[in-house]
């Protein structure tokens, strides 16, 4: 009896809690706070934060592996986050399903009306690769313990695309997955703070006031064929990007084809919501003190900020270059939307444009590079998976 009482006491969190776990629970609560109070990507950061809290409760066993006896009979079931992480994230299933849903939510119309904006989506990926160099330098200098695979996974934060970052990290650097996902979603939420100073620094008021010509209307047929064209090009040139872009285009085709509206509706509602809940809990499970509380996390957070900034700058500079050579004028602000972070970055471009000229509506024009950035970072992800993994 006293023995059992002692056992019960030994089971409590008060007895077992280690400092690292305490700190990580606080980090989880901070994410919850940012999600609810500051509106930081709440759909992901709330489940991630709760997931981080739960996985760090000592003795709760959320990441416990199931135990089987010799005959294959389960003697002790695994924890919830164990099943979620190994079933949905390690396998890549959840990010791919999310990407399908995002595809079903994406309108490529503005991009199809002005395909040149794809170049802006390409330029903004420079943030990714510049960050890879940064991480490699930190690793080569011995300051931090980054391999090439780690560096590639860190760089993808600059893609400003959550599911892509999680997919790549789960394949190249699972130990860094938690920090990478948190950095990616946090900076995506911070886009309205990170981008405007860079945009103002690199453009003059005249440039920011440039009006762009009304986009041509896009036909239903173009919207239907486009995702198929992308899939074929991916199949030809970069099969390692096919999982991401294939599911993305599948979702988009369901949206646009008009004959499977009930599937498209489910992909962008019930299915993506269910997967988002579990994805968040699964990512949160990687926010353990061993994986998160170290110098590398600081490096990742710092490099992620650099990645966003360089990507933004690269997009703007490319837009300025295109403006010089293009017959139609291009407002350099829309280049910043090339980092993706759909649709936040496009809204920021619109807002900064309106500050310079109250009649200047850039939102539609910025949506082109914005969705192009999604394709661009998926292509970059494919190159990384092929280069590092192959």
């Amino acid at each position: 009896m006293e023995n059992k009482l002692l056992n019960l006491y030994h089971d409590t969190g008060i007895y077992q809690l280690e400092l690292g776990q305490f700190v990580m629970i606080c980090v989880g609560l901070l994410l919850v706070y940012l999600a609810i109070k500051k509106g930081f990507e709440p759909l992901l950061l709330l489940p991630i934060g709760i997931g981080a809290v739960l996985v760090n409760i000592p003795g709760a066993g959320f990441m416990a592996a199931p135990v089987y006896d010799a005959t294959g009979h389960m003697t002790s079931p695994g924890g919830l986050q164990y099943y979620i992480y190994h079933g949905g994230i390690e396998t890549g299933l959840f990010p791919l399903m999310i990407f399908m849903g995002v595809g079903a939510m994406t309108d490529f119309g503005p991009m199809l009306a002005n395909p040149k904006t794809l170049l802006l989506g390409a330029a903004a990926q420079f943030g990714i690769f510049a960050t890879v160099i940064g991480a490699v330098v930190l690793g080569a200098s011995g300051l931090m313990d980054f391999t090439l695979a780690d560096a590639a996974a860190i760089g993808i934060i600059g893609g400003a695309d959550g599911p892509t970052a999680i997919f790549v990290a789960s394949r190249l650097a699972p130990d860094l997955l938690g920090a990478i996902a948190v950095a990616a979603y946090s900076y995506m939420a911070l886009v309205p703070l990170i981008q405007p100073p860079i945009m103002r620094a690199l453009t003059s008021k005249e440039e920011r006031s440039i009006k762009m010509v009304q986009l041509r209307p896009v036909t239903k047929k173009e919207k239907i064929i486009f995702p198929i064209v992308v899939v074929i090009l991916v199949a030809m040139f970069l099969p390692s990007a096919a999982p991401l872009l294939g599911m993305f285009c599948f979702g988009n085709l369901m949206r646009e084809c008009g004959v499977v509206d009930r599937l498209s509706d489910t992909a962008q509602n019930a299915l993506i919501n269910i997967v988002t809940i579990f994805l968040g809990l699964g990512v949160g499970s990687k926010l353990s003190s061993e994986d998160f509380l170290n110098l590398e996390t600081l490096g990742i957070l710092g490099l992620g900020l650099v990645a966003f900034s360089i990507g933004t700058a690269a997009g703007i500079l490319m837009a300025k270059l295109m403006n010089r050579f293009s017959s139609e004028s291009i407002n350099p602000l829309i280049g910043a939307a090339g980092v993706s972070a759909v649709p936040m970055a496009a809204r920021v471009a619109n807002k900064v444009g309106l500050e310079a000229n109250k009649q200047n509506f850039l939102l539609m024009h910025a949506m082109g590079p914005n969705v192009a950035g999604v394709i661009g970072s998926a292509v970059a992800a494919g190159v990384m998976l092929s280069y590092v993994g192959g």
């Binding site: 794809l118 390409a122 510049a130 590639a152 064209v229 489910t266 509602n269 970059a380 280069y387």
Partner: protein
């Protein structure tokens, strides 16, 4: 350790090169597709896509036979009246 740096640089060059290459090809492919489509199948442009929370179009099975019968009968009556 130098190997790591070299690999990183290689990844950057190859990566940015490939991203540009792919998206430039996509620009041409997209433009070509649009021109082809608008030439062979001139079409009316579409308005904004309806919001994703709109109710799903119920598929064929969802039409109960009674409803279908009622509709058929009503259409038929209407035709007879007007002929």
């Amino acid at each position: 350790m130098n190997g790591l740096l070299e690999d990183g640089l290689g990844l950057m060059v190859l990566g940015m090169g490939f991203v540009f290459l792919f998206l430039v090809v996509l620009i041409f492919a997209t433009g070509y597709m649009s021109r082809l489509l608008n030439h062979f199948f001139p079409d009316v442009p579409v308005g904004p896509k309806k919001s994703p929370t709109a109710p799903a179009v119920s598929d064929s099975l969802a039409v109960t036979p009674q409803m279908a019968a009622v509709i058929t009968a009503a259409v038929h009556q209407h035709r007879n009246k007007n002929s």
